[in-house]
Structures are given as C-alpha cells and as structure tokens.
Symmetry: C2
Subunit: 330 residues, 2 copies
C-alpha cells in the first residue's frame, strides 16, 4: 500500500520553517509476519520535545518522531485486531506497518467519555508528564501554592487540573489574554499574561502568589524561571520538564544564575524524562481515569485538520498558538 510520511528536508536552524519539512511517499508491503500489523493514522501529536531532539541524533531525511493515534487495518497480533485504536510512537505518518513494541497506549485504557485523541493529550505524553512532575517529582501537597509556566499548554492544563484536585492553589503564566481566560475556567486561582508584565514580572508573581511559591512546574526555562525561583519558599521543589525558551535558539541562552537562589532558599530542582518512569504509567492512568470519571478532569485540545498541515501545526504550537494539546486530525 502507498503511505505518506513527513521527513526533515533540512536541519532547521533556529525556528523551524515549513520548508524544513517534506512529505514523502513510501510503499509498505502488506504481507505481515507474526507480531506485526498495518494501520491508518487518525491523528498526529505535535509536541515541543520534537523540536528539542533535532541535533540529538536526527539527520536529513529522517521521519519526524511523534505519537500518532491509529486504527489497526490488518493484524497478526491477537490482542490488536482490525479496528482497534492505538497510540503508536511511529512518527509523522498517515499509515504504515508496526509491531507491538511501537504501541504506546491502547484506547481501551481510557474512559469512553473522552475523545479518542485524548490518547495524545490527557492520556498521552502530556498528561503523563504533568502527573509525574507533580506527583513523583515535586510531591505537591494540599494547601501549597504551585506555579505552572506554559499554563494553558498541553502539559500545563493537565498539571493545573491535577493541582486543583490535590487541593493546591494553582497559579501560572501564559502568553495571551485568551489563555489567561482559559486558565481561569480550568481551575487556576490566578494567571497572568507574561508578555504584558515584562517590566514588572516580580510584581505579577507577587500578585498571583502573595505567600510565595512552593512548587514550580518549569516548562520554559531561561530568564523567566530565574525570576520565578526568587519567589519560591524555603524547601520549594521544581520539576524541570522542558525549556521551550531555548529550543529554537542558535546560540546558548543566558539567564541570571540560579545557584544563589537555590542555595539561599534550599530549593530542589529535578529534571525528569518520561521514559525513566515507565513503571509508574499504570498508576498515573488509574489516577487520570478516576478523575475523568468523577468529572474533575477534562481533555483540552486544539485540533488542526489535514496531514499536509502537520508542520504548520507544529510551528504554530512552538509559537504558543495552542490552548490545550495541539493535535492534527487526518
């Protein structure tokens, strides 16, 4: 069968451009070995981590990595028969052949009341990242003030919902007034548009977190985070997840050094990657499921349509164009 994939046409330099990507056709042989299956893609996830991996092993002509929601069309795996919905780590493809180890998530593991694409958002990498950051890394506690940068984003919106459920005062920052409104609707105690507060970031932080910040979900890094750290209470914990402020820069990004603040406020900063916590996924899914069924948690997403628009959706997401998880439905 004929399938399409999106490959890196050239290594992008700084902010990715549409012309850095190329759609390529490929022939996929339809005969299957045991343990293989064919699929058609239904939706593709575009995530910041995809940007960060260029330079770390990517080369020209490689298929762009990413999670994809697929439907099985033909199978030699008993548990994944035709029609089954799965999330695969297969990269930006509209269909193809895969094996069991490519399967990241099975739709049956989510409550029926969320859309299938929640497997790319709330029940995907974004939701797991939020759960691991707060529950395993920062160990947020009832009554604490917790701050989320990238407050309305894919990870941020789930982190906020978890924080609210855990009895925390959830505050955060984002880049548009529309996002600030969204934040208020999903449980934030307060949020601000950092682009309007650049002259008085300290004042904005004090306004939303007058008692100081106990935990910080750092999705952005850079100078912004240096400022947040100065407002943290003694013994505060920081989950270092992403550094979107640095992904698209071609020279090293400088910011006020963190060590004086880390030392003085006895902070703990901990970096984490999803793949080191695979053994905790089950526990995370159980929590997310329970909260979804109880009506305390929702999947928020921004949907773009069309395989050919995946690069545009990716670039838009890096620019902060998404409220909730950015996905592309084919």
């Amino acid at each position: 069968m004929k399938c399409k994939k999106i490959v890196l046409k050239q290594m992008y330099n700084g902010f990715p451009k549409k012309s850095d990507f190329e759609i390529v056709e490929e022939d996929v042989a339809e005969d299957l070995q045991n343990g293989e299956f064919l699929y058609e893609s239904l939706a593709i996830s575009v995530d910041p981590y995809i940007r960060s991996l260029v330079g770390a092993g990517y080369k020209r002509g490689d298929t762009v990595i990413g999670s994809v929601l697929v439907r099985v069309t033909k199978s030699k795996i008993e548990k994944f028969q035709k029609g089954k919905l799965l999330v695969l780590n297969c990269g930006w493809r509209n269909g193809g052949k895969a094996k069991e180890s490519d399967v990241f998530f099975v739709r049956d593991d989510m409550p029926a009341l969320v859309p299938e694409t929640a497997g790319l958002g709330l029940y995907g990498i974004a939701g797991l990242t939020a759960w691991i950051g707060w529950i395993l890394v920062c160990k947020i506690k009832k009554g604490e003030t917790i701050f989320i940068s990238g407050a309305a984003g894919a990870v941020g919106n789930v982190a906020a919902q978890i924080g609210k459920i855990k009895g925390c005062t959830v505050v955060g920052s984002c880049g548009t007034d529309e996002k600030v409104e969204f934040c208020k609707n999903i449980g934030y105690y307060a949020a601000f548009n950092y682009k309007k507060e650049s002259g008085s970031l300290d004042a904005a932080i004090k306004r939303v977190a007058p008692k100081g910040i106990d935990c910080y979900f750092d999705n952005v890094g850079g100078s912004f985070s240096s400022t947040i750290l100065r407002h943290m209470n003694s013994g505060g914990r920081v989950g270092v997840c992403g550094s979107i402020s640095a992904y698209n820069e071609t020279t090293p990004v400088l910011a006020p050094i963190l060590q004086p603040t880390i030392g003085k406020n006895e902070l703990i900063l901990q970096g984490f990657r999803l793949r080191s916590h695979v053994s905790n996924y089950r526990e995370a899914y159980e929590d997310l499921k329970k909260w979804t069924i109880e009506g305390k948690m929702k999947n928020y997403e921004k949907v773009t349509k069309g395989f050919e628009n995946v690069p545009d959706a990716f670039i838009d997401m890096l620019r902060g164009g998404n409220v909730g998880k950015a996905v592309v439905r084919l």
Copy 2:
C-alpha cells in the same frame, strides 16, 4: 574590660576593600549574670558566606559575623568554666561577653590530635558543610565520580577527603598550580587549574572525568557550573552550597541556562544551608572524629596572624589565596 571588634565602615560595593572595615573599641562590663561568661579570642574564621550576607540584613556599623575560637576567662556557666575552649558565633571580636546560646562547638568534642583551630575548619562550618553536602544531599556512593569546584578550599578539601573515604573517584578544579599539587596530596584522583583551561574547559573535564560526573559539589556557581552540568551522568546529583562567582558582582551574573541539561540528564540540584541540618551535626562529628582518629582525615588550614589582619585575610580568601581553611590567629 576593653575589647575590640571589627565593624562594617561602609557597605561594600563589589569586591570588599580593607577600607570597608574598621576596628572599634568597646567597654565590656565584667559582672556576669547566670548563664554568661567572658572570653578572649584565640582565632577568627573568615568564610565566603560572610561576603554573601552583606545586603541581607547587614548595615553600617554592624560587627562582621563569623565563628571565633575563644578561651573562657570568667564564667557563670558550670560546664564552661575558665580555660574551656569554645567556638562562638560572636563575630570578629578579640574578646567579650557571651551566653550559652552563642556556643557553636566545644573543643572537647574533637580528638586531641587536631589543633584547636580545627574547630573553625574540619570541625567547623566548613567540615559540616562538606559532610552534609555529600552524605545528606548528594548521597555519594562507592565507585562514583564526584567533582568538587573550589577543590583546595575550606569546604573542598574536607569534601575531597570524605569522598576518598567513601570509595569515590574524587576530581576537581581550583585556581592555582600550587592548589593542584595540594589536591593530589590529599586524595584527589585528578584536579586541574581552571584558569589555565579556560579555552578548553570541556576537554579538561573529560580528561579528569572520562566516565562522566555522578555528583557535583558546587561551590562556585555561574558559567563554570553550567559547563560541569553538561558532563554529568543521568541521575546525577548536585549539592548547591555556595556561589562565590557571584558574591562580589554588582550586577546579576548571567550564565548559559541550566534547564536543558537538568532535564536531559535528569539531574537533581539541591540547595542547602547548614542551619536546616542542626539535628545531623552529632552524626557528622562522630564520622569526622572516627576518620580523624583512624588517620584518614586531616585539618588543613592557612593561618594569618594578628587581629588587625582579619579583613586582609578575608579579602585574600575571597581572591582564592588560601589552601585549606583560612583562619586568623590572634
């Protein structure tokens, strides 16, 4: 009785100068209430943390803080009779009146085989800091490669000895060739003079730590530490103790941001202050004592003489002039 103290004549701006300090005479009434004693000072400790506290509560005319080794001359406390040697948190004074809560350490708690001034070094703030950083914060393990910046300094030399005792490969950096030599003699596997490696710091680090760094005792902060972090192994731990690179700057110090490295290498950075670990001092002293008696651990110090030379010794220490703990004997 007439005593002398050293006060801050003006708030120093950038690097401290001798003229920022002033010796002032004071009259100390010799009559004692219960729980008080008189003392004469034998030696004064000069430490980096003293620099960092200016701006955080100091004002003109305040006596400079610091630990002092004293001999009790008259007492209304049964356990601290005349002749007893104590370390007090009394600031830069050549004598005075104190009470039990000013006592930091009792000479009787050290083995007789170390000099009395070890109460300011190996058994003082420096030694406790080294012990807490490695044992409680980083939890160093046998076989790990551990890196110490400020390798030959007050904290660094003790940290190195502890690392060696714990079966680690101890490596580090310092600022003179003389210090590199000293490092080799106290148990470092390798050390380098960072001032000679500024063009190829990465190469120097790879040379001394070819298998990467598992734990890092960060005494300096800044750009140097940003580079060290990039050479850390996954799951590495960093004890953030001091930031001497920033103490004397008048504008915020910038360095390449840490978050991408913290995230990618899943590092844990933890700031710590001594006063939060008072309940562990006893355990620390027991370890240090045991190691001293077994001949595995020594007190290294650089001694200056004369009360009037305390400011000079302080400034010299900030410039990196000391090998081991900088103390001033009166």
